[in-house]
């Protein structure tokens, strides 16, 4: 009784029907997740549904969606369960079929009954007068890399030619690789973390914020020395952006001059930092850096905060920064406007005061003509500490497994799709040879034709 139940359960998990059902349900579930907004917050989901129905129905729909985790499909219990079933199905299938396949490699080859051969889709008959025909066919097959077996049966001699039979194992390699990838993903979820950090230029942080909004201590401090974004000429499309980082552990710098860029991450102590985004964040600490050239040509460096008065060296003029634009542009009518919040063309509005007389002037970082003021040349170098660099932070011990699994999967797929086993059978009765092949493919048929041609050519 128990055995029967066991067998039923086993057969259920080993069945291709289950595999097909899982293919369909996983795909459907995954597809739902691409349509319904994946958000823990109710607002985006309700907003999405209110496009199709009344607000009150949208609220009710949200409740149903929340019940089945449809707003968090890929981490829901049922989706995880489906993936688990998929893994179980793969394992049971392999345990169910692999031993039979392995046994078939070891078993001594058997002659096939003629009734089986006659059902094969390819059957070609040739009449040939040649005493050494058996040897000849064997040789032809062996030259093409086949291993051959000859049997003497009632119908005459039966030759079996096999090639690439062991490639049937590659399917298991592919299936194994999926399990390795799933295991890698699981390890990553349990033993790794993902987070992000926004570091304002000139400051440092020793924790990242996880996707759920929790602080993850890193165990060291990462400082952003400088951040720069390069833009394509006359456009707001970024060309490259990079952060210059430094790692500080127990108050001492341990790694310096680290440069990270998009597609060029950096790893320290198993934690990898990726350049993900950047932004403009005016803070009180932000410093405007100027260089003033006095009449003798001497350079004076001036660092000031927003709205902070500073003296122009060698004169009685006081000045202060009263406005700032990260990307000042000039429109068609010659008016100034702010193009973007990215630091494309930073500019400052400086107010000068000379003996009670106030004047204002925009100084643009990239336009040297704007540096000329009535009181001398004042170059605007940069706004330091106003940009933040957005880093993704990750530790994932599962990644080596993911890569191994991916390589094995590609290997397995190429073997099982391009090196499929080829079997030929030939029955020799007196001067007649009949070739059989269990699969009907263009290539297979041509190979037989080629052999027949060679046999005939030999005869002539």
């Amino acid at each position: 009784m128990l055995n029967r139940v066991n067998e039923k359960v086993w057969n259920f998990f080993a069945s291709t029907e289950l595999a097909v059902a899982l293919f369909i349900t996983i795909s459907t579930g995954a597809a739902i997740g691409t349509v319904i907004p994946q958000s823990i917050e109710p607002e985006p989901v309700i907003k999405f549904f209110s496009k199709f129905m009344s607000i009150s129905s949208a609220h009710k729909t949200y409740e149903i969606i929340n019940l089945f985790d449809l707003n968090n499909v890929y981490h829901s219990w049922w989706f995880t369960f489906l993936l688990f079933m998929f893994a179980l199905n793969l394992i049971v299938c392999s345990i169910d079929r692999l031993p039979t396949l392995l046994k078939s490699f070891k078993a001594p080859p058997q002659p096939y009954p003629l009734s089986v051969l006659d059902k094969m889709p390819i059957k070609k008959t040739v009449k040939i007068n040649n005493d050494r025909i058996l040897e000849k066919i064997k040789e032809l097959f062996q030259n093409k890399g086949f291993s051959t077996h000859v049997f003497e049966t009632q119908e005459g001699f039966q030759i079996q030619a096999k090639k690439w039979n062991k490639t049937r194992l590659a399917v298991y390699l592919t299936h194994l690789s999926i399990l390795i990838i799933l295991a890698g993903a699981l390890i990553g979820t349990f033993f790794g973390f993902r987070g992000s950090m926004n570091i304002v230029e000139g400051t440092g942080l020793n924790f990242a914020i996880s996707d759920e909004g929790k602080a993850i201590p890193l165990g060291f401090e990462i400082r952003c020395e400088r951040f720069e974004a390069e833009y394509y000429e006359n456009s707001a499309i970024p060309k490259a952006y990079r952060s210059y980082l430094k790692i500080i552990e127990s108050g001492k710098p341990v790694r310096e001059n680290i440069v990270i860029e998009v597609n060029h991450p950096f790893t320290y102590r198993g934690i990898t930092f990726y350049q993900a985004s950047y932004g403009f964040q005016p803070t009180e600490h932000a410093e405007f850096k100027f260089t003033y050239f006095d009449k003798t040509g001497k350079e004076h460096n001036i660092n000031v905060h927003f709205e902070e008065n500073f003296k122009i060296p060698g004169t009685s003029v006081t000045a202060s920064v009263v406005d700032f634009s990260p990307a000042l542009g000039i429109d068609e009518e010659g008016r100034l406007f702010n193009m973007s919040s990215d630091m494309i063309n930073p500019a400052v509005l400086v107010e000068f005061e000379n003996n009670g007389k106030k004047t204002q002037q925009w100084i643009l970082k990239k336009i040297p003509e704007s540096w000329q003021t009535p009181y001398g040349k004042l170059r605007f170098n940069e706004l330091w500490g106003a940009q933040f660099t957005g880093l993704q932070v990750r530790r994932d011990p599962g990644v080596p497994l993911i890569y191994t699994g991916s390589i094995l999967m590609c290997l397995g797929l190429f073997i099982c799709l391009f090196l499929r086993p080829v079997n030929y059978f030939a029955v020799i009765n007196k001067n007649q040879v009949v070739f059989y092949c269990p699969t009907s493919k263009g290539m297979v048929e041509r190979q037989i034709d080629e052999i027949i041609k060679k046999l005939k050519g030999d005869e002539a």
């Binding site: 291709t16 293919f23 795909s27 995954a30 691409t34 499309i237 970024p238 590609c410 797929l413 799709l417």
Partner: protein
Amino acid sequence: MSYQIISIAGILYILVMPVYIVYILTKNKKIGFAATGILSTGALIHIYGFIQRFKEMYAINHSVMRSIPITNLYESLVFFVLCIVSGYLFIEWKYKNKSFGVFVSVIAGITIGLTDVLGITKEVQPLVPALKSNWLLAHVTLSFIAYAAFGISFITALLHVIVETESKKSFKYIFSTSILGFMVFMFISLIFDAFSASNPKSIKIFHSTLGNSSIIISIFCWIALITIIFLFWRFGDHMKKIVQSLKITSGFLEDMTYKGIAFGFPIFTIGGLVFGAIWADQAWGRYWGWDPKETWSLITWFVYAFYLHAKFIRGWKGTKTSMIAVIGFLITIFTYLGVNLFLSGLHSYGSM
């Protein structure tokens, strides 16, 4: 300019279609030769345009690897067409069979034509930092080679279903004619969408037809859709006769479908999924993030995996598996274009 050269190739692809039809009807060897000649000329002009595009990009990026033109929707469509035409020419040469050239030239011509009609931007755009990666290059190139292989298998699978149908009441007949009808409707609708959109960047598919804000037009379009499908259903048997007169054996079609998928599937796995994951890992620190594009490519992968399992384990033969191949390519198109048009995500660089 490169896009003008590519448009000339597109015109040749459309012009070659009637030549293939005449060849099929007359079986005249000279006409067949002319058809292959025109298609090959189109492909050569296309390659020339592709090289010109490369030069235009090189002038901006000054890097060989960053100038291969497959980085936006227009360039990827152009590359896809190049792959499908070269793939077909290879099959024509290898199997000495010109039977489905008509369909390849239709797909190639329409795709290039659509890039004009839809006003997809053809400007040479500088690359944003995330796109500067060799993994991305391998990912995109291999993905489109796989899509082209799936495209060819779609054509042969659909022909296979059409050839094998006996009665108008059979499911496969209804299946193949509805899909053809729907695709024709979608194509017409796209043109209306393109003309009614105020800005080429804001084209929303079916927006001017099925999803029109005026209920009357919307209902009319639904009726039109059903009518077109009905017409295909009603007169589809003529198509069957034409296809049968092509003297393509259903075995050849089934074999080509299988070969297209057996070739495309591992390429899609390595290029589309694995290299894509490696790129995402390098750029954002995550190899898989259930982004809509990623999710839909997994679904595509599942459908073709299902096709191969049905073929090998279940021993399914004939039209059943071909229908999976047809559905597979429809999902592939959705993964390629639909995700960009309907859903938002990281692959939005591919948007119009």
